[in-house]
Amino acid sequence: MNIIVCVKRVPDSGTRVRVTGDGRGIDTSGVKYVVNPYDEFAVEEAIQIREERGEGQVTALCLGPDEAEEQLRNALAMGADDAVLLEAEPPMDGLTVARELAAELEDRDFDLLLFGKQAIDDDNMQVPPMVAEILGLPCATVVVDLDVEDGRAVARREVEGGHEMVELELPAVVSTQKGLNEPRYADLKGIMAAKKKPLEKKEVELAEASTELLSMREPEEGTDGEIVGEGAEAAPELARRLHEEAKVL
């Protein structure tokens, strides 16, 4: 079984996000980069499937800058077998990314293509279903449980107030959600081994984007919020203000 896992290099979730003076992006100075946390579930799932079956190849694929080699090495240290870096600054436009990944994937032979459910920088949640659509493959997103059998997979996905089951014939695309597994930490042996695993770099030219980032801004800071009072005595006043002033009751 061949499994390809897409991983993205993103700022750590604890990053203080500051928009640059020109409003065109975020200030990346001092930012610590990590493997997108949702992608770790995808990498872990791929490795577990390979381990359970006792055969197969796990390839990590990333569209990112040269520095994204670090995140691919992380995936290799967790247990992926080889890696491919499509070198380009990833745009915010989901369709551009999906097209680029699909172009690479078209010529590859795989049974399962895994992604995290969303990247925590652009929060697009677009690329997995887009790649599936472009390649004409079945797809399940936000998956918390995955059963892979010969030639097919059954995925359980989270929806409002419940779940739905999705049947997929392989090859298929799945995006993973927290709850699917517990991603392992790479141990020293893994980290050492990762240094020697094959990692191919290819420069790519991105197509013109279908959306345009016009500007960025930070959320309005704070509120003119106020402390209504202290202790239970303040409750009637709070209720009155919610009713008369905020009109939410």
């Binding site: 946390p37 279903p129 905020a246």
Partner: protein, 328 residues
């Protein structure tokens, strides 16, 4: 080219609340562009009737496809329906709800049409005759204004941001033929975890509890408050309490949980860590109850009470009951 197409999301044959929000967003956009609102649904036999009621929210043309195979989510048929309509009509924009299904479907349609998509928008304008949207990025820590290079512009709208507004559309109902086959992705009907339980992401009022609640047995305190606030209210939770196993992950609000934007958000015993704020800061009115006056939740709260939640919450519940006139 000024018409706008909206996706009417169904669960079974029931119209979901977000469908009215999507049509309201579409109406706003169509009014500014001087166009009509079209609505499309793909559902089981009989579902078209309810979808037709969206005329009351401004739908001018309503396309409904019915088939026994459409009782559950059917992404392949939906993509075919959108492609058919986009080929027939020239749309300025296509709107989806940013629901679980909407976020699964919209990218498929975008890729099929080869058009750009903006996810989970919180605002919508027209500039030089073109749609321009605002959407959160970096877990709501930065907002992006996004334009589109070609029409139709595809977008999914964050639940609870476009509050449904009644507006009479001409409501012409047309049946649409959509093939159920071939099926690439086969989805079974939704299994609800608790019958009719409202999801925190779609509630219009949310009461969230944090570690300050001290244990799962104390949640009846918050359930009473939810009850007092009436229909449309759901429970939420911080990650600390989900990790402790006090509450299910489905209730978690924040960066690794759900993003909520209710009319009222009450944070009880929640410190307000940046990852929690990421999931609720766009709420309309935020109330914080915390014994620590330095808790960062007070920085985003519109109203706060400093005090012991075990004393404040029952009193607040009581007062709200009085105001809402049910009991007390």
């Amino acid at each position: 080219m000024s018409d706008v197409l909206a996706y009417a999301e169904l669960r079974g044959s029931q119209l979901r609340g977000v469908a009215r929000e999507t049509v309201t967003g579409a109406r706003r956009l169509a009014d500014e562009l001087g166009g009509d609102v079209h609505v499309v649904s793909v559902g089981p036999p009989g579902s078209g009737e309810e979808v037709a009621s969206l005329a009351d929210y401004g739908a001018d043309r309503i396309f409904t496809a019915e088939d026994g195979e459409f009782g559950a989510y059917h992404p392949d048929a939906l993509v075919r329906a959108f492609q058919y309509l986009a080929d027939q009509e020239e749309y300025a924009a296509i709107l989806f709800p940013a629901s679980a299904r909407g976020k699964d479907l919209a990218p498929r349609v975008a890729a099929r049409l080869g058009r750009g998509l903006a996810t989970e928008i919180t605002d919508l304008e027209v500039e030089d005759g073109e749609p321009v949207v605002t959407r959160p990025t970096y877990a709501d820590k930065a907002y992006a204004r996004v334009g589109f290079t070609e029409s139709p512009a595809l977008m999914s709208i964050r639940p609870n941001v476009f509050i449904p507004e009644e507006s009479q559309g001409s409501g012409e109902h047309e049946e649409l033929e959509v093939d159920a086959d071939p099926v690439r992705t086969r989805v079974s009907p939704v299994e609800t975890s608790e019958e009719g339980k409202l999801d925190v992401a779609e509630a219009s009022q949310v009461v969230s509890g944090g570690r300050g609640m001290q244990g799962p047995d104390n949640w009846s305190l918050l359930e009473d408050l939810v009850d007092a606030l009436g229909p449309g209210t759901a429970l939420g939770a911080s990650r600390a309490v989900v990790d402790a196993g006090w509450r299910p992950h489905a209730e978690q609000v924040g960066q690794t949980g759900k993003v909520v934007s209710p009319n009222l958000y009450v944070a009880v015993g929640i410190s307000g860590a940046i990852q929690h704020l990421a999931g609720m800061r766009t709420s309309n009115v935020i109330v914080a109850i915390n014994k620590d006056p330095e808790a960062p939740i007070f920085d985003v709260a519109d109203y706060g009470i400093i005090g012991d939640l075990f004393e404040v919450v029952p009193e607040l519940t009581e007062e709200i009951r009085k105001i809402r006139g049910d009991g007390g």
